[in-house]
């Protein structure tokens, strides 16, 4: 009985959809209400506050703005932020691909558990991550006591920043690559090897190009995350101006010096960079949808 009614409802629905598609404008209720709500909420929480940032930065004259965002110290902070985030994203692209590959292709004990743990950096507060990493890698720490005598100093160096950013960005590449690897039809690989391609050729000519957009998208996400990261890096960065001072740390420093226009100017540049990356990710997604299939 229920199934019949359900079927009836479905059929009716399909007819309605056809009707609407020819008619434009959906008969479903709630567009104005939900749109009114979401736009207002989005404005209150995100858009108006963010525009405050731009307007504050806009109160500077172009030359003032330029001198601030292009001063030697800010330039050093940007270049450090970009290089560390880039390096971390690059490392993540490599190890993320490796981990995704192993999770999709091979069987091993506790696989489900390991799979679940990959997302830990997204769930773990960044402050905790910073606390743990800084106490692991200092000279008296668990790992530091072995690494420091070897000359590997993973606390208070650029390497420390990169390493913490690797942690915070770890899930992105794994999670973008995993589904793509799963969807590759075995027939494709089979066909290639029957036609005489070596395993390596199959990998470089077929698999890598297919997952490349996914790697790129994961890379960009990890990169964007790394650019803005604050909670964990303040525990491991040594904040030496020109050397290990990151842009988000510099923003807070400026803020605490009560230099609001400076803080907002630097924030604006960081924002613009993030916008760019966001646009880049979306482009990759559209591009991979169009050409991936």
């Amino acid at each position: 009985m229920m199934a019949k009614i359900e079927f009836g409802i479905r059929v009716q629905g399909v007819i309605l959809v056809a009707f609407i598609q020819s008619n434009k404008g959906s008969p479903l209720p709630g567009l104005s209400l939900s749109l009114g709500y979401s736009v207002t909420y989005l404005s209150l929480i995100v858009l108006i506050p963010l525009s405050a940032c731009f307007i504050k930065a806009g109160s500077l004259s172009p030359t003032e703005f330029w001198t601030i965002v292009w001063s030697e110290r800010t330039r050093a902070a940007y270049s450090l932020t970009f290089t560390t985030a880039f390096l971390a994203a690059l490392i993540n692209a490599a190890i993320g691909f490796l981990v995704a590959w192993v999770l999709v292709r091979y069987e091993f004990p506790f696989k489900r558990f390991v799979d679940a743990m990959i997302d830990l950096p997204l769930a773990l507060p960044t402050a905790v991550a910073g606390l743990v990493y800084s106490s692991l890698y200092v000279e008296s720490g668990w790992l530091g006591q072995f690494l420091v005598p070897l000359g590997i100093n993973a606390a208070y160096t650029k390497f420390a920043i990169v390493w913490v950013l690797v942690f915070t960005g770890f899930p992105f590449v794994v999670r973008t690559v995993q589904p793509v690897l799963e969807e590759i039809e075995p027939e494709v690989e089979e066909a290639a090897s029957i036609l005489g391609a070596s395993r390596l050729q199959v990998f470089t000519r077929i698999l890598l190009p297919t997952v490349f957009p996914a790697i790129l998208s994961g890379f960009a996400q990890a990169f964007a995350r790394g650019l803005g990261e604050y909670g964990s890096v303040i525990f491991v960065s040594s904040n030496i101006p020109y050397k290990t001072e990151l842009a988000p740390v510099l923003i807070v420093t400026r803020l605490e010096e009560m230099a609001f226009p400076e803080a907002t100017a630097i924030a604006t540049v960081l924002l613009a960079a993030s916008f760019g990356i966001l646009a880049f990710i979306n482009t990759i997604e559209i591009w991979s949808k169009r050409f991936g299939k």
Binding site: R73, P241, T253, E257
Partner: protein
């Protein structure tokens, strides 16, 4: 009976406006702006202070609450907020409703005075002219002083790790910088030599934290560096805490630090807490609080208490701010303003690194 029908919400021209209104209301309910003036009879004070005063203020608060209970038969709750001196001043200027403010530096007090939070005659008040405590910058070194660091020139040796906070945002950072500067001026060196000296000290700084306490954690907990340029109070506490792992070295000369404390006039007037706040501030000069101050490693204002703790505070040669500049305000902008002496010293270090 007709059922109450909410279906109207989904149609009609005004549905989007309705959605907007709901968003406003929900956000407002969720954030619940705080009423600034509390109507309850609970007496509350907020003391916003700089970083290394956490323990001493906590103890004084407890003593004051007990004292108040005894004489006024009422409960009083005192909240504390701590952070880098400059950043705490920023928070107060931005509206953190402090009743009492104490900072490491005169200029931080001045910056909140500029926002008209203090009475025009603030700089003449007792808490600013003659603060209940004073201290100096000393060297905190590892047990037995393995690198044999005795005085400021020892800090420029190669291979010595010097821990000091960032002078841009930390009072401790600024005072450490000025102490080294004062040493050179006192010895009769000129500006050029002094800058080179400072450059060589800061070249040896591996970690530059945001506040005095963060530096202490770096030096003591994470065991980085050979010497920390710390407040005497912090150094004394660390020595006690470390159970012999750390030692204090008194340099030949250091800067006299008199952290100002004041009632934040505009806040106590709007919160109606002036009487309590002034009582609280006066309590700092009483014998009980003075003893707590001395016990926590700050040199007390009261001479009799200072004599009582003589063995703890060896005499030091201290210099006044007048040695390095006309006023705190001038020193602040000349040394730590945009492209000031500190920035120039760091640029020089960077350029050295390049070559």
């Amino acid at each position: 009976m007709k059922r109450f029908d909410l279906g109207f919400m989904f149609s009609g021209k005004n549905a989007s406006v309705l959605g907007g209104v709901i968003a406003f209301v929900l956000v407002f309910i969720a954030i619940q702006p705080i009423q600034k003036r509390s109507n309850s009879n609970n007496l509350e004070l907020l003391h916003v202070s700089f970083d290394p005063t956490r323990e001493v203020i906590h103890e004084i608060n407890e003593a004051f609450a007990k004292d108040w209970q005894k004489f006024n038969n009422g409960k009083v709750q005192i909240y504390q907020s701590h952070g880098g001196s400059g950043s705490q001043a920023r928070s107060v200027a931005d509206g953190l409703p402090a009743d009492i403010a104490s900072f490491a530096l005169f200029t931080d007090m001045e910056s909140i005075a500029k926002k008209k939070l203090l009475h025009p005659s603030w700089s003449k008040s007792k808490g600013v002219m003659a603060p209940p405590w004073n201290t100096a910058i000393v060297f905190l070194v590892r047990k037995g002083n393995p690198k044999n660091l005795r005085d400021w020139p020892d800090l420029i040796q190669q291979g010595v790790g010097v821990i000091a906070p960032n002078p841009k945002i930390s009072g401790n950072g600024r005072l450490a910088f000025l102490s080294a500067w004062g040493y050179m001026l006192d010895k009769g060196h000129d500006d050029f030599e002094t800058r080179a000296f400072l450059k060589n000290i800061y070249k040896n700084v591996p970690v530059m934290d945001a506040s005095a306490r963060a530096s202490q954690v770096t030096f003591y907990q994470k065991k980085i560096g050979d010497v920390q340029l710390a407040f005497e109070s912090e150094a004394l506490m660390a020595v006690k805490e470390s159970e012999g792992q750390l030692d204090i070295v008194y340099p030949s000369i250091s800067i006299k630090i008199e952290p100002p404390i004041a009632v934040v006039d505009s806040n106590v007037d709007s919160k109606d807490t002036r009487l309590l706040a002034e009582n609280y501030l006066n309590f700092f000069y009483g014998l009980e609080a003075q003893r707590i101050i001395a016990k926590n490693g700050y040199r007390p204002f009261d001479v009799s208490i200072l004599r009582e703790f003589e063995s703890k505070f060896p005499p030091m040669k201290l210099f006044d701010i007048s040695l390095v500049g006309n006023s705190w305000t001038e020193v602040q902008s000349v040394f730590f303003g945009e492209d000031g002496v500190f920035d120039q010293v760091f640029k020089a270090i960077r350029n050295d690194g390049k070559n």
